[in-house]
Assembly symmetry: D2
Homo-oligomer: 379 residues x 4
């Protein structure tokens, strides 16, 4: 059994990473062209009320000793209405390729409602994160423990190339730290939270986010990007992967992407399923063909309605006319594309298990390739 990393340490680590990220350029700062208009933070937190908290676990180097490390993993938590409440939001989900886990989706599908936070972590820590969320809810919410139940939503991607995934290094206290630290404002990207040890198109991947303003509403996207082969990578339609072949690591498609979509547009559950499905199209623009080994699971929620809870009474909700969905679809595709690109731009070269090194997408080469193909946005 490994020593436990104190939650304090994790939070400190997370804060340090946050500081270092603050000055880092994002994809559009590098001149990557995108369509649509982003919100002020260009992040999922542009949707009012959404809070994100992350715990990053980086510890040890060298040969894999299962249970001892190296450790390159973490937890990312998203509260649709902030950490002070589990009040429900309408939600819908979609599995583009189900080689992955997202707990809680049977009830999201059935009820159209998501209660409580969403958490993202590594494949083998889904269970501990799930139950820890319940523990946290037991501790933080006044409940009648005789009648209450919870079915938390926890997704995963696999970080075993860099992380001692079978060492089970995510502990309940790391989950609590992610939940407790959730906040509005800018979101750390790259090697943080659930994205710490992830790999994307054989470059270092991780957490990325983006947003769009459309039709008076905001759409925010957060991804945990861990999918794809190098040769497939497109950025702004340009074959960046073929142009930058350095540092390839995988013979086979392996890895996954989680995509969370938030909006304040008052969409009903069946409309949110449609939004979730559009994440596929943003992912496709990056060159993914959603390989067999990919857990490409997407969830969309809306803060635009208060879910009626009064029994024996029909409650009021709002909805968009079906014909007004198209611009939101387009914005979702755009924000997904930019969130993934942001993850690639933010992530830094990392060495983990057995000295495996995954290189960052080189910013200068990216700019050079975009320029070569007439797609660089010069400032």
């Amino acid at each position: 059994m490994p020593r436990r990393l104190a939650p304090l340490v994790a939070v400190v680590l997370s804060s340090l990473v946050s500081l270092s990220l603050a000055a880092k350029p994002r994809a559009r700062d590098l001149g990557v062209p995108f369509e649509g208009k982003p919100g002020p933070l260009n992040a999922i937190t542009d949707v009012a009320g959404v809070e994100v908290g992350q715990t990053t676990l980086i510890r040890g180097d060298g040969q894999l000793v299962v249970g001892a490390g190296p450790v390159r993993t973490g937890v990312t938590a998203i509260f649709p209405r902030g950490k002070a409440t589990d009040a429900g939001v309408f939600a819908g989900w979609f599995s583009l390729n189900g080689n992955g886990e997202m707990t809680g989706t049977a009830w999201v599908e059935e009820s159209g409602i998501l209660e409580g936070p969403i958490a993202l972590t590594n494949t083998h820590s889904v269970g501990v994160v799930r139950d820890a969320i319940i523990r946290w809810q037991v501790a933080h919410r006044p409940r009648d423990n005789r009648v209450w139940w919870s079915l938390p939503v926890v997704g995963e991607t696999w970080d075993g190339w860099l992380n001692d995934i079978n060492g089970f290094h995510v502990k309940p206290e790391h989950v609590f730290a992610a939940l407790d630290s959730a906040k509005t404002g800018p979101v750390d990207e790259g090697n943080v939270g659930g994205g710490t040890g992830m790999v994307c198109h054989e470059f270092k991947g991780g957490i990325g986010t983006s947003s769009r303003l459309i039709s008076g509403y905001t759409i925010g996207v957060l991804v945990q990007a861990n999918y794809g082969l190098r040769h497939q990578l497109l950025i702004a339609g340009v074959p960046v992967g073929r142009e930058i072949p350095d540092g390839q690591i995988r013979p086979d498609e392996a890895g996954s992407i989680l995509i969370i979509i938030a909006t304040d547009a008052p969409l009903l559950p069946h409309q949110l399923k449609r939004l979730a499905r559009r994440a596929s199209l943003g992912l496709a623009r990056m060159g993914s063909s959603s390989g067999d080994g990919s857990g490409d699971l997407f969830l969309a929620f809306s803060t635009g309605n208060t879910i009626p809870t009064e029994r024996k009474k029909a409650g009021d909700v709002k909805m968009l006319v079906t014909e007004d969905m198209s611009p939101l679809f387009e914005a979702t595709v755009q924000a997904t594309e930019e969130a993934i690109t942001n993850a690639l731009v933010a992530a830094e070269t990392m060495t983990g298990v057995d000295g495996h090194t995954v290189v960052a997408l080189p910013h200068d080469k990216l700019r050079a390739v975009l320029k070569k193909y007439g797609r660089l946005v010069e400032k």
Copy 2:
């Protein structure tokens, strides 16, 4: 190509059948016990606004001559808000066993909205009925034909044991007659409309309907029953099929059931999918195991909301709290069970193709069996 039966004749036939049905007992008149409280008509038309129209085609006897008959078929049309409007209703559907056709369901699933009527007919007449509905809409609704489209919902079950199904005897005018004759009030049951030539548990089947009053709302069910083997038939939990073995015709499970559920409860599309799924449970109580050859397709709609249509504006709708769904589920199961039993009780012995005879469920024997098992409701 067969001679065409004039629509006038069809309407006359339909009216005659209607007269003869008026005096017939229904299942609860015979002492079959049911749970829950039915509406005044104990029919789908207890849901305000719902109108039903039927065309019944019965013509010829003797050996099958494809294209010439015998003819035992028809069309049943259901307008959620009456024939004067195609204004949408929220809807959801479920396929318990998809050996059947229900057109228009891709858009019901996507948009959660049903526009226009639902029609039920035989398997090989789905196309003519579908296109005829569009023709009727073109003729009856003021449209801009340059931008308008329609995706009608038409379901089917197979009546080839009694009907010359490959003679394609349903013509557009028969569809128009069913649509034009749609009305509120009692609904003809048994050998009428789309149910004319149907067989249920190897007894004569067809159209049946029922309703329930629950939580201040009404739930109405209409079935086109054409499924099941004799030995499987349960009525009020009693093994009626094993007790009345006379007149069996099928070695294999073959046949299907369409179940349409209407309600004025303000349910959202995802909630209506849940209602549609419950039709399975009512069907199961009749003893069905939903055989491989069965097209068991169910659709639920709600008149309880006006669908917002104003663009660029969030519209208002109402919904039930999720915890308030359970009584509606139970009522749906009950009404489905009674609607199927009503179809069996109303249908009369029919001889069709090649002299095939399908016997009616004998009312006296049914009562005797119910009595034997302590389930007869004595008046």
Copy 3:
């Protein structure tokens, strides 16, 4: 944090329960009539290779002290091909009402393959059970920890009426004990394993099993029954719930049922989804209308094919002709109905949290009611 119950104690408890169960009558011993022919054990283990292991946790009495007890819970594990292998089986699943959790289903749906065991537990212990299965696999299977991943299938129902569910009393060692104790042969029923604290139609519920021999194949069903209101309960079509009103506890439908179906018939994944859906129909015959609060999740698997694993080569599998599915559907309905009835018959009166008592279905009254309705099978 609660003291941990040693795994040894758990196993001992489980064995004691096993002994006490050995002499207990099952539903057909009491004269409940069922259709179809059961296998020699009338259990899921009639399907060759299937092994079941259970850990039962019963400890403490009196007032609820979260973390201290009373404890009435456990784990039931099912290995499709025995505990010595994780070799895959084809599988399919269905959610009749998704107010529940079954992890691992995204990959079952996508790949049609189930690898490793299925485990059943309480709602708030899904996470610990899931991760513990991975730990157990890491320990027991030779793996390359750098490339291997697992997405275990763990289902749940809610036992908080009797069990301190927010005390999180299921620990990894209890999971290991269930996995390690898996065996062929008779399966303990009633208050055991994941079913320990469950309630069914307001009688004591829990684990039940049954099987059918059909078309040269075996179908086995195991349920964790925790659903339904008293008035809804039907046994063999008889309104047993209304006839035995004693000891009701719930105003609202709440609770769930997990149904696992095993077969040696060589069914493809899409055919297994069809089988899983039929569990709904067996459940319906018991009177359930699958209430809003119910997590009615069903999974079917087949041991009838070895899953091809050799890369770059088309592998051979067998399948049944679609028309041959109907008898298997009927057998699944029958075995589901009997498995639930067996759970009710086996479970014994239990007192748990705050002195809540849930009474067993009284065998003598059951026989009397069946006799009243002419359904008792006299020996």
Copy 4:
């Protein structure tokens, strides 16, 4: 009621179009870069056994007179194993956005089997095409008409901008002509068959096809392309739509795409659903965000297995190992992208209803734009 265009005329028309197409360049002839290796025909007919037949109806000009024209529509038929047989193939389908119709999908989903041809036509002619296929089957196949049924697969997109869609100009004889003329070999593209009156990214659209050779198998794609706004159009990742703004016609996303995928790889039904889902990703690379008005319905079938039909016996089929699916996914994405581009390249400027003109994608400008962005493949 309009005069009927004799089927002979239709076939002649179709043949003339075929001649004129023979000399036309396809997308890769113009220097559009594509990934992967196409088959000898670069068409769906590279999959052995697949036959395609098309009827093209072009008649009249000027103002719309409903029932009189102008007529710009047709039928495209695809036989998975050639027109001489209805022997089944495994199949799976996916709805990316369900604002459309594809009949027969309930049974494809349930059984995993497609029997008979697939036909593509306009939205308001789905019914006539469906029933006409049954008539054709009745006439051409020896059947026992007392037991036989058919559930044809017919898809549609909306051509009302150019075609008198509410005139119902597709007649049974046009369907027969398409079925009778089905053949292997090159497939006409552009303004032919069901694609005659279609519009794609506000350029003239229609039928397009492509194929890929991968892992020893062939994947063929045929599209009926009628979707998208101009500004969204990407070709090879290049923003072609923004660069060629001429001739835009639509303020709103409206229109749809049908994508049919054929393969000789021995895939099981659940694997074919996965393939069908990948069509989404090829469509996304063209810039689509699958707007609300889009019926984006995809169906994949495999000729790689003979479907067992002998009763009471487990039949043999072959399957690919799940890990071997990824290259097929990638090939499907590639072939979809090229098939759509081929439709755009082949389609010629057309004037229809009310003088509406939809311009062809100008080949010279396309080449110039590709060159500008460094993506033109020079010969």
